[in-house]
Structures are given as C-alpha cells and as structure tokens.
C-alpha cells in the first residue's frame, strides 16, 4: 500500500535511515560471508563442511544445544508456573533473577561454571566422586548452554500462562476432570505455541553460543569442540574461506530456525486471536 500522501511525517527519513544502517551493519557484512563461502567453489566447500572434524562439531553443537533446550523446556515451564501461580517469599527476586543469563557476560558465566563444575569445584568435586565428569566433557557444554538459554522458555510462557482465564480450569473441573487431566488436556495445549517458541529461541541461542562454552568445554577436537570454536580456530590460522564455509552452514541453520520461530509466533498469535 504505497501511497504518495502520508499524513504522518518521517516515512522516508526513518525508513531510509533504518534500511541504510541495517544494510551497513548487518546485510553487507553477512553478504561478505556468503560471498567468501561461495568463492571456495562447490567441491572445496563440501570438503570443508563435511570434514569429520566439522561433522563432529555439528553433532556436539546440535546435540548439546538440543539437550539444554529440552532441559529448559521442562524446567522453564515449571519456573513459569510457580512464578505465575504461587506466592512465596522472595518471589520478586526469583523472578528478576531469571534474566541473569541475559545480563551476565558469557565469559563470566563461563569461568564461574568451570570453577563450579571443575575437579575442585563445589559441584564438580562431589560429582566426580560419583564418577560424573562435567567440566571438560560434553556434559559441561550442556550445563553452560542450559544456563544461557534459561530465560527463554520462562519468559515466553509466563505471559501466556498469566493470560489464561481461571474459568477454563474451573470449567474443566466442573465437567469432572481431575487436576492432572485439566493440566494435560486444557492448559498444556494452550501453552504449546509459547513453549515451542521458547524452546526454539533457547535452541537457536545455544547453537551459536561461544563465550560460556569455551571455558568449560576443554576444546578437544572431535570430543568437545563446538562449531563456533572450530570457526574461531580456522580464523586464527587465517583460513578465511574455511571459516566462512562453516559460517555459511551456521547462518543457513539460523535462518531456518528464525523462519520456524516467526511461523510459530504467527501461529500462536492467530490462536490467541481466537481464529
């Protein structure tokens, strides 16, 4: 709906500036990445992205991110539920604290978790005595990714849960459903779009995470080397093309996730709209 006559001023100025700035900061540099990746040519590109070390890093990155997002899915719902439905002392503080992973620099989280789960750490010591190695093992990566993805599910589910009318549950109860049936058949379906959105956000964030993981993972190729770290080490060897090829793969994946998240949000909006 392009109309010459716009009553509210600033159309050209605001969008012109926004587009220019977006192009300079985001679009052109990302295009440079794509161009560099493509410049390798199909065969060499494939050789880089299908190298066993790369494949091992994908498996680790995706596997750990998926595990962490699943942990956050379950506990995020629990935390959101408790924060919305129950009252207890310190609730405001608990609620504010949920955002800590957004606010705490990842490097700080990384060294703190490493110290905590290392051999001499508060948690690491006892766990190691039980035969569980967390730091410098894939489990450590899951711990770090759980930390950084923690707020997503809570913060997407919380408003939806708060917005559900109590009448829904009362109606279910009046129809003879017990509490568990009400939760599973009435509440949970209403929360599914928000849960999935939060899950996808946590997953997307975890796949690309770098700062908190490098400290705790130990960075052993094939064992505990995540894809962002592999890109980093290729860069340090001035292998720009190789780094770019892996970067393109990650970017493609981010794009797909972003699309999925937008579709999810569209879906949940339509559902909330009573469509």
């Amino acid at each position: 709906m392009m109309s010459r006559n716009r009553v509210i001023p600033g159309f050209g100025l605001s969008l012109g500036y926004a587009t220019l700035y977006t192009s300079l900061i985001v679009f052109i540099p990302l295009a440079a990445l794509a161009a560099e990746g493509i410049s390798l040519g199909g065969e060499r590109f494939w050789a880089v992205v299908s190298h066993p070390q790369a494949v091992a890093s994908y498996t680790l990155s995706f596997g750990a991110a998926l595990t962490a997002a699943l942990i956050n899915l379950v506990f995020g719902l629990l935390v959101a539920w408790v924060l919305v439905r129950y009252s207890f002392p310190g609730k405001r503080i608990a609620d504010a604290l949920v955002d800590l992973p957004f606010a705490l620099p990842t490097a700080v989280a990384g060294i703190a978790l490493t110290a905590l789960y290392g051999r001499n750490g508060w948690f690491g010591g006892p766990l190691e005595a039980l035969g569980l190695k967390i730091a410098y093992a894939p489990a450590g990566i899951v711990v770090a990714l759980t930390f950084i993805g923690l707020p997503f599910v809570v913060r997407t589910v919380q408003p939806v849960l708060a917005g559900l009318e109590r009448e829904l549950e009362e109606a279910a109860a009046s129809l003879g459903a017990d509490r568990w049936q009400t939760f599973r058949r009435v509440l949970l379906p209403a929360l599914v779009p928000a849960l999935l959105t939060g899950f996808a956000l946590a997953f997307a964030r975890a796949v690309g995470e770098y700062g908190s993981v490098v400290f705790i993972s130990g960075n052993m190729p094939y064992r505990t080397e995540i894809t962002p770290l592999l890109i980093y080490s290729k860069l340090e060897q001035y292998d720009y093309a190789g780094a770019s090829a892996l970067g393109v793969m990650m970017l493609l994946f981010s794009f797909l996730l972003l699309l999925a998240i937008n579709a999810l949000q569209y879906w949940s909006l339509r559902r909330q709209g009573g469509g």
Partner: protein, 353 residues
C-alpha cells in the same frame, strides 16, 4: 464554514470504502454520518480532516479547494474515537497543546493560553480537573477534554469519530444532549460519525445514511424516519416488518395485507418487498371487519407501549405490532383473534434476479 465533497473514491486494496460520494455540509449545522460498521463513514470523516487522502475527488472548504491541504493547515478539530489524549500530559497541557505548538510569531503568550484553556475547561464543565492526567478520568470526562482540546485551536469545523461509542449507556445519553446544547452555543460546523441511529436522530440537524461506501439518503431525522428512501434505510432506521409480496395496479399484496403502492400503477404484477413500521399497524379485536385475520402469539409491555406479535394461519411470518398503552389492563391476551390493518407502508421493487 461550509464543506463540500465531490466525487470521492477510496479503496483499500480490493475493498471499496467510498464509492463516488458527493455531499454538502452547510455552515453551522450538525450532521451525522450514520451507517453500519465498515460502511466508509469514518473514512469519509478522515478524508475531510486530511488524515486520509481520497484516490480521486475533491474536498472544498468554503468553496475553496482543500484537497491537497495538509491536516496541519486545515484547522479542523478532530475528536478521536478513543480520544487520543496525551497520557503523559495533564488535562491542562492537553488542552493547551494546540496553542503551544504554534510558531512563535502567532503563539499566544502564557497568560493568554492559560485564560483560553480555563475558559474551554469551564465550557466543558471540567475546570476542576485541570491538573489531572487522562488516565485518572472517567470515559465521559475524557470525551469532554478531547472536545475542549479540539476546540482550543478555534477550528473552522469540528469532526467527531464515534464520539459516544466507548461510553456506557447512561453517560452516553447525558453527553448527547450536552453536545447538542454545546453546538447550539458555538455554532461550529460539526460532523460526527455514528452507527447508533438513536444517537443520530437525537443530536443531528441532518443525517447522511451511508452503506457500503455509497450514500443511501440525506435528510433531517424526521425525513429519514418517516420517508426512508431505500430498503436499506428502512431496515437500518427504526424497526419494520419486512414482507415480500407482489404489486400491480397501484396495490400491493404483502403476506395477506393489502396496501396502496402508487409507484406500481402498471398492470403486470411484479415481486416487491414492503416495509411496515410496528406502530403503523392497527389491531382490532374479534374476528369481524376488514384486515388480516390473525391470532395473538405473544404480548410484552415495554415502557409505555405494548409489543404484540400476531400471526395469520395462512402466513409463515408473524407481524410485529406496537401499540401505545397505559393502565394495567391489556387489550389483548395470547390466543385472542384479531384483525390487523396497516396504516402506512412503503413498497420497493425487488431487484431483478
């Protein structure tokens, strides 16, 4: 100031909001744009204000072309449906806003602004709320403040979009008569949009009935009610029995009722639809006399009138009748045999299929 709109057309994608609309608003009158939601009335108001631009056609203020004039220079006072009061400003600052944004050379000084704002707040009887914020006001108060704010710039025309739409029924009634009195005092050319026929009837000098982007009828409330020009107006304004039938030779036969139809003097019969107001039907007791024989289906007392529903054994549709009534005794009870006679009716030809 008089306003004229000529051949306005406006589409939103496939949807035609205004279809060749031409209208004249006389200086000093209060006109209602009345129609169902989505009929284009708000679009018309916004085009007059300069908040929207027509695809084609012209808007004239006092005979001068204002089509391309920016809303800033049109000096229209616009009262928004949800008032659009600036939440972070006090009532005083809201009303003063239009004066304080003027270029320095024709901006009144502080003293003068204060005087004018207080005068306006007195006019809307809310001087005591000057220091409040919009969120602290009731709906009716917000409405009056929005009006005061619009009047502060001394507009040549006052435009109101569903001015009473967001208020509850009691407040709405009060504000209606208050707006009418205010208009009689100020005599600014005013146009308001409404979907509520009662509101339009009570407040406006003239009513423009709009449907699907087209003008159905323009007239005084009396004309609109007593002589609806189209089937749509008949259905939209007031209640009416809608009866299909056939007409020929100056008479129409509508579901057993015979009514004069002077528009159909030709001999060959054609399909028509007739409209009869409930209070234009007479009922007499007993089985004798002329008129349609029917039985009373239900009776209900609403205020000072009786609403009677009657049905003839041969007809599928029942007739709604409204009778003036006072006292405790009802002239008819359910099951009584009655005769129904229309006093007035209007017959329209059905659109050829």
């Amino acid at each position: 100031m008089s306003i004229q709109v000529r051949d306005l057309n406006k589409s939103f994608g496939q949807f035609k909001a205004l279809d060749n609309v031409s209208l004249q608003f006389n200086s000093g009158e209060l006109v209602a744009l009345l129609g169902p939601s989505g009929c284009g009335k708000t679009t018309l108001l916004r085009i007059i204000a300069g908040l929207e631009f027509a695809d084609s056609g012209a808007v004239l203020f006092s005979g001068r072309d204002a089509t391309a004039t920016h809303v800033r220079e049109r000096s229209v006072g616009f009262v928004f449906q949800h008032y659009a009061l600036f939440r972070h400003m006090s009532v005083y600052d809201n009303v003063a806003f239009g004066l304080t944004v003027r270029p320095r050379r024709n901006r009144p000084d502080k003293q003068e602004i204060a005087e004018r704002v207080h005068k306006l707040l007195e006019l809307v009887q809310l001087d005591w709320l000057a220091d409040r914020y919009p969120d602290q006001l009731s709906g009716g108060q917000r409405q009056r403040i929005a009006l005061a704010r619009a009047l502060a710039v001394e507009p040549r025309v006052l435009l109101l979009d569903e001015p009473f739409g967001a208020l509850d029924a009691r407040v709405r009634k009060d504000l209606r008569s208050w707006l009418r009195r205010l208009h009689d005092e100020l005599h600014v050319t005013s146009i308001f949009v409404t979907h509520d026929q009662e509101e339009a009837m009570e407040v406006a000098d003239r009513i423009v009935v709009i449907n699907r982007g087209r003008i159905e009828q323009v007239g005084t409330p009396r004309e609109i009610y007593n002589a609806p020009a189209t089937p749509f107006v008949y259905g939209f304004i007031g209640d009416a029995n809608r009866l299909s039938g056939r007409a020929a030779g100056g008479w129409a036969e509508l579901a057993g009722l015979r009514v004069p139809a002077p528009d159909f003097a030709q001999s060959e019969p054609r399909a028509v639809t007739g409209y009869i107001r409930p209070h234009d039907i007479e009922l007499s007791g007993g089985g004798e006399g002329d008129g349609l024989a029917a039985r009373v289906e239900s009776v209900a007392q609403v205020g000072a009138s009786l609403r009677v529903s009657v049905r003839s054994p041969e007809q599928a549709q029942s007739l709604q009748v409204e009778l003036p009534h006072s006292g405790g005794q009802w002239p008819f009870e359910v099951g009584d045999a009655v005769r129904a006679r229309p006093r007035a009716a209007r017959v329209f030809a059905d659109a050829p299929v």
